[in-house]
């Protein structure tokens, strides 16, 4: 593929212009095809979730355009239905919230503190600690699951207490990436500001609060969005660390429905949408921060 004909200067002739138009047309066609493949499946799910059960199960969602029938029954059933098979997703939605919010707050704070120390204090071995935390990013969480679960069993947390387990687990797993991302931003702050504050006799704690924190709000936002999406969408950590069936997040419940009730498309489509909607809103409204975080994490890193 990489062999290219020897470049010949393109003559500015009619042939050249036609070829140019053709390439731009191919380009448009390619982008259109990709855009379609990337949106149509989600669109199909969205449309289906509003179709009556009988329709979903007997004909394809594209028939909606010729025979539009809309109902909210699927959502009513999957969110609040009381039968065993209905999903009761409203309660799992709350579980997801209870799991996610502290699992975002704690890592953001602890990583910001650590990143500050690694960027703006001077002590022996600083770079080594940074490299060690950085390298931990690549330890698969699979390496931690079994022993960490045994560790939690020492405390025998029950019922609502078990939420502490998953907060703790998510916080631990987030630290390597978080320290890395925030350190990237923090080490690029202008050094003279911090030096000046030091000369004025400000303590590191004060500099952190009053000088650095306001400046890194965008970075905190991008890491918080990352962590939010990661925790809200996580399946593995929740499967391992949430013991009771009543405390599991949406993802676990949906995966279960997909496994046991794989043909209940009226529930699966609306259920999937319930789980997608919050991250989608967060993502679309804060996309700028998210992209900035991605770029910092992978290109500059």
């Amino acid at each position: 593929m990489s062999t290219v004909p020897v470049p010949v200067a393109e003559p500015a002739t009619a042939v050249g212009r036609v070829r140019k138009r053709l390439t731009s047309r191919t380009a448009s066609a390619i982008s259109l095809v990709i855009a379609l493949i990337w949106t149509v499946p989600t669109l199909g799910l969205f449309i289906s979730s509003f179709r009556p059960e009988a329709d979903i199960k007997t004909n394809g969602w594209w028939n909606f355009f010729t025979d539009p029938k809309v109902t909210l029954d699927n959502y009513q059933d999957v969110l609040f239905g009381t039968s065993g098979s209905s999903g009761r997703l409203a309660t799992y939605f709350i579980n997801s919230l209870v799991i996610t919010i502290p699992s975002v707050l704690f890592p953001v704070a602890f990583c910001a503190l650590a990143a500050y120390a690694l960027a703006w204090t001077k002590f022996k071995g600083r770079d080594w600690i940074y490299v060690a935390i950085f390298a931990l990013q690549i330890v698969p969480i699979q390496m931690a699951l079994v022993p960490l679960l045994q560790f939690f069993n020492i405390f025998a947390l029950e019922d609502e207490g078990s939420f502490v387990q998953i907060w703790f687990a998510h916080t631990c797993f987030a630290i390597p990436l978080g320290v890395f991302l925030l350190h990237n931003f923090m080490s690029e702050l202008p050094g003279d500001i911090i030096e000046a504050a030091r000369v004025d006799g400000a303590s590191h704690a004060r500099i952190f609060r009053q000088v650095v924190l306001p400046l890194i709000v965008p970075a905190l936002a991008s890491f918080a969005i990352f962590q939010f999406l990661w925790v809200w969408n996580d399946l593995l950590v929740a499967l391992v660390f949430v013991p009771g069936a009543d405390s599991t997040p949406l993802t676990v419940r949906l995966a279960e429905l997909a496994g046991t009730r794989g043909n209940d498309w009226q529930r699966l489509t609306s259920g999937a949408f319930v789980s997608i909607i919050i991250p989608l809103i967060v993502f679309l409204s804060l996309q700028r921060y998210f992209v900035r975080g991605l770029l910092a994490g992978s290109v500059k890193g």
Binding site: A9, E10, K57, Y116, M143, N233, L280
Partner: protein, 327 residues
């Protein structure tokens, strides 16, 4: 409607969690204020303690223990040497798992990166570029479970003998093309490819965003000079664009490879690892948490770790090189 007797305690727990957060962070900052010593070392220790403590308890110690467990039997009571590792490489089922994982790691990064790169190039400076990019990028916000259900619906199959209409888009497209649909997720080896499509669908947006930023960072003089030399778009792509964004390409391929290696959710949601679609990370979960065989589960985890280790070394080296350049 919601039963508050059930939801109440959970919301209270959330409240405790948030209060706990403010209490811990507040106390920590207060304590740090008191450490007024001029020596940075002690202040730094205070700043670093929570993070270091958590990674030690949550990652370092467990990783070491997992490593030890991998040489022990199912309930970690006796040492069994390398038996668990021998099991990974000798059983037909686990070999299948390794083969599937290899397929994921080869196909997902190449296809997702290619699609992301092509799309980034064709929409670059096009009308509606922002919107066009958002469309491809959106799956990044969707959970793997959600994406699994979306695509399971695309692959839905109804036996034409029994039902006259298909409800899955893929089956219907095949019917429109005048062919017979199949039960896509049931028949190996193709079913693994259909699962791979889902991860490509999620990761292409990531590739596109990173590569698009890299393309925009190519100095205008270079592209101008090439244009004056009269290169075709094709030559521009291979001779100018690709070489200029090489570092970003490497990052994208590496990141997506790691994600493919650790893939769990899609297989769990769409097939549960049945029908010959199992992969390494899913088998690890099955061994450790369904079969309660900590030995085999740990051995699989360690193997996963060994597969990503070369990438750690590579990245750390890059990091140190950059540090040296900066100094």
């Amino acid at each position: 409607m919601l039963d508050m007797a059930v939801e109440g305690p959970k919301l209270l727990m959330l409240l405790y969690g948030v209060i706990g957060f403010f209490a811990i962070v507040g106390l920590l900052l207060l304590a740090l204020d008191k450490v007024s010593g001029r020596r940075d070392r002690w202040v730094a220790l205070g700043f670093l303690t929570p993070a270091l403590l958590l990674v030690t308890i949550g990652l370092v110690i467990p990783a070491i223990r997992t490593f030890i467990f991998s040489f022990m039997d199912a309930d970690s009571s006796d040492f069994v040497g390398l038996d668990n590792y021998a099991w990974i490489f000798t059983q037909p089922e686990t070999r299948k798992v390794l083969g599937n994982t290899a397929l994921w790691v080869v196909l997902v990064p190449t296809v997702a990166t290619t699609v992301g790169l092509v799309y980034a190039v064709v929409v670059d400076r096009a009308k509606f570029e922002g919107l066009a990019k958002s469309l491809i990028f959106m799956p990044m916000a969707i959970s793997f479970v959600g994406a699994g259900i979306i695509w399971k619906f695309v692959y839905a199959y109804r036996d034409p003998e029994v039902a006259d209409k298909q409800i899955g888009l893929l089956s219907q497209v095949v019917v429109w093309l005048g062919m017979k649909p199949a039960n896509w997720l049931l028949e190996p080896p193709w079913n693994t490819l259909f699962l791979i499509v889902v991860l490509v669908w999620i990761q292409a947006g990531f590739a596109m965003v990173i590569l698009s930023a890299a393309i925009k960072a190519i100095p205008a003089e270079i592209t101008e000079a090439a244009r004056i030399d009269g290169v075709t778009p094709w030559q521009m792509f291979w001779r100018v664009t690709v070489p200029s964004i090489r570092p970003a390409l490497v990052v994208v391929v590496v990141t997506i490879s790691i994600a493919s290696l650790k893939l769990f959710d899609i297989v769990r949601t769409m097939t549960g690892g049945r029908f010959d679609t199992n992969v390494l990370a899913h088998e690890m979960y099955v061994q450790a948490f369904d079969s309660y065989d900590d030995g085999r589960g740990s051995a699989l985890a360690v193997f996963l770790f060994l597969l990503v280790t070369p990438i750690v070394f590579y990245q750390v080296r890059q990091f140190r090189k950059r540090r040296q350049e900066a100094m």
